[in-house]
């Protein structure tokens, strides 16, 4: 009997293809939207963490208050001892110092005269130490566009856009003009070894990278750093955990009279991320909820209309001696089969599109060229485990629910009245 009914469904496009198509499209869009929003928000968090905020960050209080000005005169000192203490107290985290500084980069011609000049932001990281994990964290190997990464002291890499602007190629010399943490003027020549693309318009505009030891020497910041970044060893940001650690750390220095006492911030407590990400999370949650609700209503209606359209068939079947129970049972089995097929197709297509968006992404670099916040220049989806059920469940059950409601009419009416209403 079930085979007989399924054969009928497959032959009647309005009973099979249309509901399956509606379910497939609804489930596919749900999966795509969910994967895409998850990807975008995760990328914003990851990129901020890697390029700027860490999972937690320690600065001096006054540095934190003026950090937009890159005030290295307010930097943290005695960081080796601080890192030792942090490693002991917070073993889940890896600590790495970074110094940000501003200055003028000068590219000389063959005779040593200025060929081109431009302002730039320096980022000093532990680029020569493999243990620091900074190369992997910033994915500098992957981001390399030209030349090679620095292998020794005195070498520098530039963002590719910045190098193009300064018309400098790997192997050429470049000189930095700026000031030490004490305010003395400093200039230092470097050999440019390569260019990188960070994938963040803000960073790609005019950033250069040198080793932190070179920066400490040049800026007179022996055993000091502007910022000390902490990363969870599993590389996943856990806001609750980060908040507890920051609270615990800050409590130790709450009563400190030292105006340069360190203060710890979580990722979300920097760059206004908590507000924007929480709002984004809320909006995406509401959006996905509304979408799933709308999809459920459409599918519920599809099931309802599909059931109502078949009252004539049900009437014939009742007259031929099929019981109400059997008509209803087979109706639900059909709806389950259609819901299952539609959900499988929709989830599969959604995952394929998500995978494509994860690998290729949507390039928005032109739209965010002048962005002042760190955000990815390519928006990507993430294929996560929840995508396997987020569309599947409403796809399966909405159709079933709508059909069950349509089928309820079979029970509510007396057979003769139903028979008459069924236009038999």
């Amino acid at each position: 009997m079930i085979k007989f009914i399924i054969r009928g469904i497959l032959r009647d496009k309005s009973k099979s293809i249309i509901p399956i198509a509606v379910i497939s499209v609804g489930v596919m869009v749900t999966v795509m939207m969910s994967g895409f929003l998850e990807g975008v928000f995760s990328d914003v968090i990851n990129q901020n963490a890697k390029l700027d905020t860490g999972h937690v960050k320690i600065m001096t209080k006054p540095y934190a208050e003026n950090k937009e000005q890159l005030p290295n005169d307010l930097a943290l000192l005695g960081i080796n001892e601080l890192i030792d203490s942090l490693n002991l107290n917070y073993p889940d985290l890896i600590w790495t110092p970074r110094i940000k500084f501003g200055g003028i980069m000068d590219v000389p011609d063959a005779s040593g005269n200025t060929k081109l000049q431009g302002p730039g932001i320096g980022l000093a990281i532990s680029i020569l130490s493999e243990e620091s994990g900074e190369l992997q964290r910033l994915q500098l190997n992957k981001s390399l566009k030209k030349g090679r990464l620095p292998k020794r002291s005195g070498e520098i890499i530039l963002s590719d856009n910045y190098a193009t602007k300064l018309n400098i190629s790997p192997g050429e010399k470049i000189t930095f003009f700026g000031s030490t943490m004490e305010g003395s003027m400093v200039f230092q020549s470097y050999e440019m070894t390569g260019t990188v693309e960070f994938g963040s318009p803000l960073m790609d505009k005019g950033t250069f990278i040198i080793d932190i030891r070179d920066a400490q020497n040049m800026l007179d910041m022996e055993n000091g750093t502007g910022e000390l970044l902490g990363y969870f060893k599993d590389d996943k940001y856990d806001d609750q955990k980060a908040l507890v650690i920051a609270e615990n750390f800050n409590a130790k220095f709450q009563e400190s009279k030292d105006e340069y006492a360190p203060v710890m911030f979580t990722l979300k407590d920097q760059n206004g991320l908590r507000e924007s990400l929480d709002m984004g999370d809320a909006f995406s949650g509401i959006f996905i909820f509304i979408f799933i609700l709308a999809m459920s209503l459409v599918l519920w209606n599809t099931g309802l209309i599909g059931g109502l359209r078949r009252y004539n068939e049900f009437g014939i079947r009742l007259a031929l001696g099929e019981s109400k129970n059997n008509v209803f049972k087979l109706l639900l089995i059909e709806a389950s089969v259609i819901g299952l097929i539609g959900s499988i197709i929709g989830t599969s297509l959604g995952l394929v599109f998500c995978y494509y968006l994860q690998e290729v992404g949507i390039d928005i670099s032109k739209d965010v060229a002048n962005s002042t916040i760190i955000m990815p220049s390519v928006m990507r989806a993430y294929v996560t485990s929840d995508l396997f059920y987020i569309g599947f469940i409403p796809g399966l059950f909405s159709m079933l629910f709508g059909t069950a409601l349509a089928g309820r009419g079979i029970y509510k009416r007396e057979t003769a009245r139903l028979f008459k209403e069924l236009e038999v």
Binding site: M1, F4, R7, G8, R11, D12, K15, N312, E313, G315, I316, R317, L318, A319, L320, G321, E322, S323, K324, N325, N326, E414, T415, A416, F419, E423, V424
Partner: protein, 232 residues
């Protein structure tokens, strides 16, 4: 020994609530049909023909009185028991054929047997036998939309007859057919009645049908006006 009637309706009334009032569709009907009869309930629209047919077909229950079909008390049957009675013993033929459009002629006739859990071989033999009765064996693989009105009604007869029911209830079976097809259909049903001994009960106001009936039960305003042997 006197044979029990196959259909026995005793003092049956049926009322429906319409616009807050009870509308009496049938008023104290008494009727008996013996096995093998070829009878018809004749009357104008609204006289209660279909209501009476629905009660005999176990699709409805009387408000008052008793209806026995094959010794089963219609009033006492549960939904499943009523479905089982229809499944094994009662065939229906409708005015508008009501074939399932996505299935072939063979499958439409086979459907009645699927409910009886017969084997595929048994079903095939029974379906081809029924199609042979109505002269449509060469149309077995066609869909209903490829059939004429007369052919569609013959498929409906095959569907009603395939399970070899004791009773066939035909509600205005010729209403949508031209004269020639109507006569063909009626001849087919008469032949099946004579060869297989199946009891046929029609609801009709078509004079062509009346010409074939052995017994005519006149119904007017929910009452039997006359119950007579056909002298035509």
């Amino acid at each position: 020994m006197k044979k029990e009637p196959i259909i026995h309706v005793k003092n049956v009334s049926k009322s429906y609530p319409i616009a807050g009032k009870e509308f009496m569709a049938l008023k104290q009907i008494d009727l008996s049909l013996n096995e093998g009869e070829f009878a018809g309930i004749v009357g104008p629209s609204g006289s209660g023909k279909t209501t009476l047919l629905n009660i005999i077909g176990s699709l409805d229950k009387p408000t008052q009185g008793d209806a026995f079909v094959l010794n089963k008390d219609i009033k006492a049957l549960s939904h499943n028991e009523a479905a089982s009675l229809r499944n094994y013993h009662i065939g229906f033929i409708f005015q508008v054929f009501n074939l399932l459009p996505v299935y072939t002629v063979f499958e439409n006739v086979e459907f009645a047997l699927l409910l009886q859990n017969n084997s595929a071989k048994e079903r095939r033999e029974a379906v081809m036998r029924a199609l042979n009765w109505v002269g449509l064996t060469d149309h077995a693989d066609k869909r209903p939309d490829k059939l004429s009105g007369g052919e569609s009604q013959r498929v409906a007869i095959a569907r009603a007859m395939v399970k070899a029911p004791k009773i066939v209830l035909a509600d205005e079976p010729t209403a949508n057919l031209d004269s020639e097809n109507a006569h063909e259909i009626l001849k087919t049903m008469k032949k099946l009645n004579q060869e297989l001994g199946t009891t046929f009960l029609f609801s009709t106001h078509d004079e062509k049908v009346m010409g074939y009936l052995d017994r005519i039960i006149h119904l007017r305003d929910g009452k039997i006006e006359k119950d007579e042997k056909n002298k035509l």
